[in-house]
């Protein structure tokens, strides 16, 4: 042996697959790039600006707090950038620029650093930031939706399919289908007094039924899939999100159980209970539910957050089903048109309990 050789002594294993926290996080950011490109294409530079504002705010906040806490600054790991980006993805393109700033700052400080930073937060920081904004600035968060170029916010572009002149037939119905998001339209159609109103305006015509069935028409579903609707920056294009999700699944960064059971549950239960009185349930209704709102973004990018979801395989299935059930309950009977954020947050809190109850049986161990 050469005297110069300094042998490293460490515990086995001596080889590693080279995945690091940093490359996991930046890969998730990369997987969100298609959604960001779509958003920028749809809404122009403003969507990009809002997104980057969220991300940069999160990074700056994390660095500042780590400096105050006198701990190593770890913003290069990408986790803060990701949180900020996801937060901004949950804001619509018409929102004021300070909204993502406050949201990202809240997400990082109260959602993450208060608990000790990466790996220690009990709930998804980006979602916590979002519900904080929803509770504090509901108007800015939900009003002023901007439709994607040449489309209606609701995804219902061709109103003549509903009635030859909807505007004069029922001004109230017209206002709904031109100003609300698809899920808001679906929710409003479950309001019996509203339904009675518009059907009366239309002279007894089953207008509500017509609008409802137009939501599940191929044209509308196409808009939902590609993202030609109104909605939050990162959530509109199911296609772009699925592209990113496929990449993460391929790279083994996210695992299939949570998204599959989450989306699957929404799919099944929206078909069973998603109808409205006076209208048939279309076979396509589940597709309306899985492609609208924040489900794709939530199921693949937020419900798969490592820290706040169960460790056990069985636990992840329960988590997915739980998110699905809560989402569908909020959408169909709750006060909000959309329930992805609250569902995931609720299940985040249940995670320790789920882990405790689903501890796996070791290979070769029999049930006692």
């Amino acid at each position: 042996m050469n005297i110069k050789d300094k042998l490293t002594v460490s515990a086995a294993p001596h080889v590693h697959d080279k995945t690091t926290v940093k490359n996991v996080m930046w890969n998730v950011v990369l997987a969100l790039v298609p959604a960001l490109i779509f958003a920028t294409y749809y809404w122009g530079i403003r969507a990009l600006l809002l997104s980057l504002t969220g991300a940069v705010t999160a990074v700056v906040c994390e660095a500042l707090i780590q400096k105050l806490r006198k701990v190593p600054i770890t913003v290069h790991d990408g986790s803060a950038f990701l949180t900020g980006l996801l937060l901004a993805f949950n804001i619509h393109a018409g929102a004021p620029i300070w909204l993502p700033v406050i949201g990202a700052a809240f997400a990082i400080t109260v959602g993450k650093q208060v608990f000790g930073g990466l790996g220690n937060n009990p709930v998804n920081p980006a979602l916590l930031g979002r519900v904080f904004l929803m509770a504090s600035w509901p108007t800015q968060m939900t009003a002023g939706w901007v439709a994607v170029k040449d489309s209606a916010i609701s995804g219902l572009n061709d109103l003549t399919r509903i009635a030859t002149d909807l505007q004069s037939l029922s001004p109230k119905a017209y206002e709904l289908v031109t100003s609300a998001t698809p899920l808001k339209v679906a929710q409003t159609l479950r309001d019996s007094s509203f339904v009675a109103d518009i059907n009366a305006q239309a002279g007894g015509l089953n207008l509500s039924g017509r609008i409802f069935s137009s939501l599940t028409e191929m044209e509308t579903l196409k808009s939902l899939f590609w993202g030609n609707i109104g909605g939050c920056i990162g959530e509109v294009s199911a296609f772009a999100l699925l592209l990113g999700a496929a990449y993460l699944l391929y790279k083994n960064i996210i695992e299939w159980r949570i998204p599959l059971f989450y989306i699957g549950t929404v799919f099944v239960f929206s078909f069973l209970f998603g109808g409205i009185p006076g209208s048939e349930i279309s076979m396509m209704l589940p597709f309306f539910h899985i492609f609208s709102g924040g489900l794709m973004l939530g199921a693949f990018f937020m419900a798969t957050d490592y820290t706040t979801t169960p460790l056990t395989k069985k636990g992840r299935i329960i988590f997915g089903i739980g998110c699905g059930l809560l989402t569908i309950i909020i959408r169909l009977v709750g006060g909000y048109p959309e329930g992805v954020s609250y569902s995931i947050l609720f299940m985040n809190v249940m995670t320790p309990l789920i882990d405790m109850l689903t501890r796996p049986k070791a290979f070769g161990r029999v049930k006692k």
Binding site: M1, N2, K4, D5, K6, L7, T8, V9, S10, A11, A12, P13, H14, V15, H16, D17, T19, T20, V21, N23, V24, G116, G117, L118, G119, N120, E255, Y306, T307, T308, T309, P310, L311, T312, K313, R316, D355, R359, P360, K361, A362, F363, G364, R365, V366
Partner: protein
Amino acid sequence: MRLKTFPGGIHPHDEKHYSASAPISIMPTPPRVIVHLSQHIGAVSSPTVKVGDTVLKGQVVAEPAGFVSLVQHASISGKVTKIAKFLHPTGIMSMGVEITSDGQNLSVDMPDDPDFMSLDAAALKARVSAAGICGMGGAGFPTHVKLSPPEDKPIDTVILNGVECEPFLTSDYRLLVERADDILHGLRLIMKIVSAKKGFIGIEANKPDAIELLQKLTAKEKDLAVVPLKLQYPQGAEKQLIFAATGRKVPAGGLPMAVGVVVQNVATAVAIYEAVRYQKPLIERVISVTGSIVNKPMNLLAPIGTLYSDLLEHCGGVSAPIGKAISGGPMMGFALPALDAAMTKGSSGLVLFDEKAAKSMQEHTCLRCARCVDICPMNLLPSMIASAVKYKDLEMAVKAGLNDCIKCGSCAYVCPAQIRLVQWIDTGKIRYAEAMRNK
């Protein structure tokens, strides 16, 4: 070809190309050897020689100190020059007998007994026991003990472990392709000793020539079969191999005999064959000296007790400074503090890393990403065990699987936060044993 395997596991780069094509070559008699008194699981052997004694190759130098212990033999001829603590391949200092070569390589008589197959089980076991054989795959469990299952645990299957799932190592592979007949003799002998009806040889798919050869040799033997296995670490772990080959699950805390199986490494099978036929003690074994910086990676048939530094010198040294020297494979082997450790009966490889490969990455907080959970071949919660140990909650560690862990290292291999999971779990095992003693 349908490949069998087990649930969980990882796919490290196999890195076997360095030494895979190097035929087994004979290591010249080294100037000295150190015969460690603890080469096995069980009681430390007690020396029967003293400093100044002259010994022949194959002569007993230490006796077993109980049933679960081992007899040790001189692996070269010469003079006993020291009985003291020497560096052991596990990185600790341990008692050993130093023999300085007389350069003559004089051996005790090892008569050929061509009629060896007609010996009865008791006589066969006596020869295995006298040869001081222990499991040569790494764990080093005394073979005569393994071949003595209690009456109420009938054995119906013997599995030879030719998996060699550790990256880099090729010593078992070379035995499979060069000494297949001896391996099969060994298998027959083991089957006879434990009166098993079926014999399997488990080989991973990255050794197609070995699979083909053994399949050809066993084609006419109805009670023997080669089990081609999907490439997956840790397939060579006993419980995983048994499951892959037979579908049987060894109960937690139990031994393979609980499911009627005995597993032996292919190198052990060769040693058993030689012990029975020639009454040759286990005094040499094949070891791979390999790694990207080794000038001439080789598979050497070397006397037990040869210093790693001598092996490396015979392989032409290294082309770059050594960063890490691993005794065994990189997944479960031991990083040595120096190269003057002496190989034991369980030493299957010496793997040398350059400085870059030796760099250890920084440990981060657990992200709870559950990668370790997803690949754990024992279906445990490695990250939870580690954090429970860290926060001194032994009860939780046990609930998360502390006592079922086989320390294969798959969890630490995939951990993106570079948490030294095996080290934490090992610490937990030690603390648990202490807690049990103090009870």
